[in-house]
Amino acid sequence: MIPDTPQPWLKLERLSFSRGERTILKDISLDLRAGELTLLTGQNGSGKTTLLRILAGLLKPHQAGFQFAGNRRKWRQSYRFLREQICYLHQHPYLFDCSVYDNIAYGLKRKKLSRQVITTRVGEALELISLEHLAQRNCHELSGGEKQRVAIARAWVLSPRLMLLDEPVSNLDKRSRGICYDLINRLQQQQIGVIYTSHEPQVGWLNLSRHIHLYGGELTMKPLQPEKPTVVELHKGTTGL
């Protein structure tokens, strides 16, 4: 382990998942630390989305061990914790059929916060994504880039430890991509970890902490820019490391 590296808040151990006869993920181990911005690459069908959905507590793996701050837990005890700590954003994020304001407030209302706190937090989120003027607009009337920003803000207001962004800029134009990259870098500055999936290894605008690659169901670490040290240690159990 690299010295001075913060302790991982979540350790994923020997995770496997198959669908029918097909093995999607094989014996994957991964440490997650606060504020890491991880690029996860892999071809179509390599299992990126499956891995993210398991991490988000939305999909049960066939085999996995979870350690939260050193405490080992089974899936039954883990998935609720994962849902509390991690927010998953689909490739094409789903926005509820209501206003931008109500979408961003959705998770805050579930936390039973006061109306005043919710209003303040939503205001901050709208400011973060520069969409204050669209607060009362129905989300179905937004452009693709605006939807993506609202989805990020909706997760951000919940102050998660980790956000899982599944190819968030794949269908966006250059300007919208730039805005999203800027937002993602700001999440990292606030010590919110991000796992960002992409087909492409080149996402130059992001201040990446590490690059991991899924191939044949196995996870490998890829080099970042030469001058940029990686702060991750993948377990020995992970093939190819």
Partner: protein, 233 residues
């Protein structure tokens, strides 16, 4: 036999002068059918949700059963429940036969498959990402379910309206289970059947007009609600 125009005129007269016998029948009809729908709706929608969102053994068989049950005639439902509820039947001790509760029971059995089939279609067409998004934003499964119902509300309202339309106008089950007792179990369809058999068309037409008006009203209501759910250009 009175002429159609004279009977229609008298029907309107009966309706607008607040003929108590007529309005009692209308009241019973609505009371029974609304209660049947209220009892059936939560279970029907929940069943549809489970069928649409979860995999379990026998799921496809259940979907087929509900789709098949759509075409069961009301009179068959009435007959089956009549046998079960009659004094010699296994549920005879409940003493439900020829009561409004028996009519409600029959109407629940009639509308449940339609409700499940239509709600299942609506929920099946919904976006699974909505469910996952609600969960990842901290919603409990129950809250996520309510969110999904909100997202699919247009289809679900359509299912409710169609189910109500089926039971408010059915005659076979109500006649057999309610017995067409005046001021107690006589509803619009059984009254129309009785009045027509007596050759008293005015009351039959008046009640028919109520059913037609109801159908028109429900369709306008559905159109209004679904109109707001149009695809945004």
């Amino acid at each position: 036999m009175e002429s159609l125009s004279a009977a229609s005129y008298q029907a309107l007269y009966l309706l607008f002068t607040g003929d108590s016998a007529l309005w009692t029948i209308i009241g019973i009809s609505f009371s029974v059918s609304v209660r049947a729908l209220l009892y059936a709706a939560p279970f029907g929608i929940l069943t549809a949700f489970l069928l649409a969102y979860f995999s379990f053994p026998g799921r496809r068989l259940l979907v087929s059963v509900f789709n098949t049950a759509l075409s069961i005639p009301a009179v068959v439902v009435g007959l089956t429940l009549y046998i079960l509820l009659s004094k010699a039947g296994p549920l005879g001790d409940w003493r439900l036969l020829f009561t409004q509760d028996a009519m409600i029971l029959g109407q629940i059995f009639l509308c449940f498959p339609l409700l499940v089939a239509m709600a299942h279609s609506a929920l099946q067409a919904s976006d699974r990402r909505a469910w996952e998004t609600a969960l990842t934003l901290g919603a409990s499964p129950l809250r996520a379910l309510l969110t999904i119902l909100h997202e699919t509300r247009f289809g679900l309202i359509g299912a409710l309206v169609a189910s109500f339309g089926r039971i408010i106008a059915e005659v076979g089950s109500s006649m057999m289970l309610g017995g067409n007792i005046l001021n107690y179990t006589r509803n619009i369809p059984t009254a129309i059947a009785l009045e027509t058999s007596k050759g008293s068309f005015a009351e039959g037409i008046a009640l028919g007009l109520v059913l037609l008006s109801l159908a028109l009203f429900l369709n306008i209501l559905l159109g209004q609600v679904q109109g707001k759910g149009e695809v945004i250009q």
